[in-house]
Symmetry: C2
Subunit: 309 residues, 2 copies
C-alpha cells in the first residue's frame, strides 16, 4: 500500500475544503507539519485561532517550500495565479493537487507553470456544504464521498497511488476520469443544480405580487430545498460558471428545452404528459438512495431536527 504519510503538507486556501483537509490530517496524523496559506490576513488569523496548521503565511510561495504535498483549495479562477506564484518554490518530487470543481480549465491554467520533476495531479473531492470559510470545515467531511482524479497523460503512477491513498485515508472513495468528461458530469450533477437554485431564489426575491416575507414564511412547502444550494459561496460559483462555460451552457439549453415542453403541457392541460414525467423521476430518487448517496428519511430527516415552536 502506498505511504499516506507526508512530512510537510502545504494547504493553499483554507476555506470549507482546505480547513476540513487540515482537520482530517491532524486527526489522523497524516503529516508532521501543515503549512496553512491564504491571501487574506483575517482568514489566516482565524485559521491560526482554530489551530488548523503548524505554520501560517499569506504567501503561497513561502508555504510550498519544502512541502511534499501541496493542496490548492481556491476558487478555480485563481488556480493560474497560485500556480504561477508557487512554481519556482516547489520541492522537486512534490505532489501538487487541487480540489477545483472544473478540471479542464484548472489544467489549462496550472500545467504551463509546473516545473519538471513536480507531480501535478488534478483532483476534485465531491464534498462540501452550503457553508464556507475556515469555520465551516469539519473532520470527516470526505467520509464516503467520491474524489475524482483527472490525471494527465504523463502522470507518474506512483505519485497518483500515493495521492489516492491519502484521500482514501480521509474516507473518500476514489475514481478516475478524463477532464472533459468530468466537466460534463459535474455540469449536470452539480453546476446546473446550483445555477437553477440560485435562479429560482432570485425569481422569488423579485416578485411584486408575493412579498418576500410570505416566501420565507411558507418556504417549507418546497422552496427551502433550493435555498440551501443558493447559499453556497458566490465567488466559488461565479468561477465555476466562468470556467465550465461550454458544458454548463449545453446543460442549460437542454434544461430549458425540457422546461418549455413541460410548460406547454401545463398550458394545454396535457395531464398524461405531466404524469409520465412526474412518475419516472421517482425511480431516480430510489436509485440514489439505494446507491447510498442520500438518506432515505423523509424530508431529508429534517423533521427530527425541526425546532418545535
Amino acid at each position: 500500500m502506498a505511504d499516506v504519510h507526508f512530512d510537510r503538507v502545504a494547504l493553499i486556501g483554507i476555506g470549507l475544503i482546505g480547513s476540513s483537509i487540515a482537520r482530517d490530517i491532524k486527526a489522523l496524523g497524516l503529516a508532521n507539519e501543515i503549512v496553512v496559506s491564504t491571501r487574506s490576513p483575517e482568514t489566516l488569523k482565524r485559521a491560526e485561532e482554530l489551530q488548523l496548521g503548524s505554520h501560517y503565511t499569506t504567501s503561497a510561495a513561502e508555504a510550498v517550500q519544502g512541502a511534499d504535498l501541496v493542496i490548492v483549495s481556491v476558487p478555480v479562477g485563481a488556480s493560474g495565479t497560485v500556480a504561477e506564484q508557487i512554481a519556482a518554490h516547489l520541492k522537486p518530487g512534490a505532489i501538487v493537487t487541487d480540489v477545483g470543481s472544473t478540471k479542464a480549465s484548472v489544467i489549462a491554467q496550472m500545467t504551463p507553470h509546473m516545473p519538471p520533476g513536480v507531480h501535478f495531479i488534478p483532483g476534485h473531492p465531491l464534498a462540501g456544504t452550503e457553508k464556507s470559510g475556515p469555520d465551516a470545515g469539519f473532520t470527516g467531511l470526505f467520509q464516503g464521498r467520491w474524489c475524482i482524479f483527472t490525471p494527465l497523460p504523463d502522470t507518474d503512477g506512483e505519485a497518483l497511488s500515493r495521492l489516492k491513498a491519502f484521500w482514501e485515508a480521509l474516507g473518500s472513495r476514489v475514481d478516475e476520469m478524463d477532464p472533459e468528461h468530468h466537466d460534463k458530469v459535474l455540469a449536470i450533477v452539480s453546476h446546473l443544480p446550483h445555477i437553477i437554485a440560485y435562479n429560482i431564489v432570485g425569481t422569488a426575491d423579485d416578485l411584486e405580487t408575493v412579498t418576500e416575507s410570505e416566501v420565507i414564511k411558507y418556504s417549507a412547502s418546497g422552496f427551502r430545498d433550493f435555498t440551501r444550494l443558493a447559499a453556497s459561496d458566490p465567488t466559488m460559483w461565479r468561477d465555476v460558471c466562468l470556467h465550465n462555460k461550454d458544458a454548463i451552457l449545453e446543460m442549460l439549453a437542454r434544461f430549458s428545452e425540457d422546461l418549455a415542453y413541460l410548460q406547454r403541457a401545463i398550458r394545454w392541460g396535457e395531464g398524461d404528459k405531466l404524469f409520465d414525467l412526474f412518475a419516472r423521476t421517482r425511480a431516480v430518487r430510489r436509485s440514489i438512495i439505494e446507491a447510498g448517496q442520500d438518506v432515505d428519511t423523509p424530508d431529508f430527516g429534517r423533521h427530527s431536527l425541526d425546532k418545535k415552536p
Copy 2:
C-alpha cells in the same frame, strides 16, 4: 376557546395527509369516531391494518353520514367528484374542509355542490414529505407548520374558529388569505420548485453523454437535493399543475426570463452579474433559518444521518 373535539370525523382520502390527520386525532383524542374512506379497496385495507380509524368504507357518501367534520384529502382534480358524491349525505351543520394545494379551483369545484346549512371552509396545511400513501403519514406532521384557510364570503365565524382550533390542536399555525393570493403564493413557494425539480431530474435522466449511473453516483454534489421533491406523488402534482395553471405559467415565465439573463451572463463571461445574484440569494436562506422554516445544520443535517461505508 373553541371546542376542538368532534363526535365523528370523516376522512375522505387516507394518503400521507389523511393518515397523518387520523394518527393525530387518535393520539390527541380529538374525536369519538373516525370514518376512513378511500376509493381504492387496497388502500382501505391497509388503513384498516394500520388501525387509522373506527369505521372503513370505499363509499364517500356513506362515510360522511352523521359526521360533524369532513376532511377531504384527495388530489385536487378529484375535489368536484367527491363534493358531488357526499353532498346529499352531509349532516346539517357539518364542517367540510379540504387540504388541497390549490384553492380557487377547489372552491369552484366544491362550492356548487355544498347544501345550505353545511359549512364549507377550504384549507391547506403546508406540510408533507416526498412519500405518499397511508404508510407515509405520521403523528406530528403538522407540528409548527402553517395551515392556510381561504374562507368564502359567507363563511360562519364560529365554524371557522372551531376548524382553526382543531388544526392548532394538531400543532399547526393558522393563517387566512383570499384564494387567488393563496394560489399565487403557493405557485412560487411550492409549485414552481416542484416543477423545476421534476424537470431537472428528467433532463439528467435523458442525457446521452453522461450515464444514469454517473448521475446517481455523483448526485451528492447538488443534484440529489432536487430528487426529493421530484419523488413526490405524481397524481397529486399533475392535478396541481392542471388546477393552478395561470399562476404557475406566470411564475414559469419569470423563472425562464431570469434564467435566460443568467445564461447570457455565463456565455459572455459577465462575472459581476453572476456574483451579484449568487451573493444576494444567501440572504434569503438566512431569513428562512431565522424564521424557523428550515434547519441551520449544514447539508440539512444529512451528514449525521449518512451511512458510513
